[in-house]
């Protein structure tokens, strides 16, 4: 019933996880201040948007990483449904929650940027709409995890798999819908001088994401193991009286 790993396997995995965590934490700690400095002092001002374009270094990496977390959640959920190992579920939960966090950052910073670039807070642009819809799926996932009660982790895993299949469908439906009624879009070609800082920003924010992901996987595992221990203790009659 309970799939508690043996102590050696547990320690090994903990070791690899700790090393990855330490590396990611170091990159994030050193990289973040340096990236912020680079964004403001190391890159040229954009020709049309000037200072407003700086949010790009924050917004776009979060958007790309949001899709990564959605796929982490989807693939881990798929794995969980296939072999019912609690570890997969921990990863799926971490990925799902972080995709909601990153999605919120993407939508808020995107809105701010849209206000500066297009003069409106929101536009039914293809990318915006796709991100919003995907975010809504992930919020649904987290709501099910939070309020579904016992047994909801399998339902949530199913939802994540459905959501993953939905991504291309959402993308194409929104794409065609917006092509039928085209609207002026700000096409920004990236200045070569901006590229290194952009990828640096991507790397550091990716490191932050890795730190958060590993932490959340660990707390999720601790929560699950505690729950399983409690169930076993309950079965053994240790919690009576």
């Amino acid at each position: 019933m309970t799939s508690t790993p043996t102590s050696t396997a547990g320690t090994q995995r903990l070791g690899a996880g700790t090393i990855a965590f330490a590396i990611a934490a170091a990159i994030a700690a050193i990289g973040l201040p340096y990236t912020i400095w680079q964004v403001f002092y190391g890159t040229p001002l954009e020709e049309q948007l000037f200072f407003n374009q700086k949010i790009f270094y924050y917004h776009v990496p979060h958007a790309m990483l949001m899709f990564a977390t959605v796929f982490v959640c989807g693939i881990a959920s798929f794995g969980y449904l296939r072999n019912r190992k609690g570890t997969w579920d921990d990863v799926a939960l971490a990925g799902g929650e972080l995709s909601v966090l990153f999605g919120a950052i993407v939508l808020i910073t995107g809105s701010v940027w849209g206000r500066a670039a297009w003069g409106v807070w929101w536009q039914w642009d293809m990318r915006l709409t796709t991100s919003l819809l995907l975010w809504l799926v992930m919020v649904g996932y987290v709501l099910v995890r939070r309020f579904g009660g016992p047994g909801s982790e399998r339902l949530a895993a199913g939802l994540a798999v459905f959501g993953m299949v939905d991504v291309p469908l959402i993308y194409f439906s929104v794409k065609i819908w917006r092509t039928v009624h085209p609207k002026a879009e700000v096409v920004s070609t990236l200045d070569p001088a901006m590229k290194p800082t952009f990828w640096l920003s991507f790397l550091t924010i990716g490191a932050v994401l890795t730190v958060l992901l590993l932490l959340r996987v660990r707390t999720a595992r601790a929560e699950r193991e505690l729950r399983e221990l409690r169930e076993r203790a309950d079965d053994a009659g240790l919690l009576d009286g």
Partner: protein
């Protein structure tokens, strides 16, 4: 009112072969195998499950009447909401049709599974020799029929109240509505069945269902809008019909795969 479900299920369980041991909950899925070896009995099982649901409904007419009345109310409320200069906004009609079908469909979906839960008949259904796949498809077919029946009320009512030319191109509209109802019931049946034993399922069903169904709503409303436009765009409408076909096929596969492993009984 007593539902004829338990004797139905029991009769089929007794009359058929002995209950396959792997049809029990927790055992590995048997659906794919039995679907391969006996396609004829598979189709018969799907038909039996669908007909069981529809027969319960034909006797009580509970879901159809409440869904249809709810849908009519929604259309009336929409017509108040979209009144402009003594007239109604004609551009709103595709959205009204599809929103109404979605809301009424969710009500019907929840009720169809409440019935199984109240009679505790879902377990009986899963214990029958019929595979889980055929149970899933049978219930989906039944719900598709219910939603299609509601569309029969919604479309004429919207035509009447909004003066929209919904009957100008009946064939593409019919296909759009049927494919939309099918997609709704495929995803909806999978989620409603998964939510059967989950707390606060009434709130969670629309919360998980609507985001997944968004491409279907886009396809449905845009396809319908192309048909009722001043200059109807049939090519666009057929494009959305194809899109809905792909949507249904994709979620048919995913639902069949997940239903096996997700229904908790």
């Amino acid at each position: 009112m007593s539902t004829p479900t338990p004797p139905e299920a029991a009769r089929r369980a007794a009359g058929g072969a002995a209950i396959a041991p792997d049809a029990l909950p927790g055992a590995p899925s048997d659906g794919a195998r039995s679907a391969r070896t006996a396609p004829v009995s598979f189709v018969r099982h799907v038909g039996a499950v669908a007909w069981k649901d529809l027969r319960v409904e034909l006797r009580s007419r509970e879901i159809v009447y409440t869904m249809a009345f709810f849908a009519a109310l929604l259309v009336v409320i929409f017509s108040f909401a979209f009144v402009k200069d003594q007239g109604v906004v004609a551009e709103a009609t595709p959205g009204i049709v599809w929103t109404t079908i979605a809301f009424a469909g969710t009500v019907g979906l929840g009720r169809a599974f409440d019935r199984e839960r109240e009679g505790d008949t879902m377990r009986a259904l899963l214990l029958t020799p019929a595979s889980r796949l055929s149970v899933f498809l049978g219930k989906s077919v039944a719900i598709t029929v219910l939603i299609a029946a509601v569309s029969l009320v919604v479309v004429p009512l919207v035509t009447l109240l909004f003066g929209a030319p919904l009957f100008a191109h009946p064939l593409p509209l019919l296909i759009l509505l049927v494919l939309g109802a099918l997609g709704f019931s495929l995803v909806g049946t999978a989620f409603a069945a998964m939510l059967l034993r989950v707390r606060s399922r009434d709130v969670l069903l629309p919360v998980v269902l609507y985001p997944i169904l968004v491409p279907m709503f886009i396809a449905g409303t845009k396809g319908t809008a192309a048909l009722v436009a001043d200059v109807p765009d049939l090519a666009a409408a057929w494009y959305w019909v194809q899109f809905l076909g792909i949507f249904d096929a994709a979620f048919l596969v995913v639902s069949m795969w997940t239903f096996e492993s997700l229904v908790i009984e």
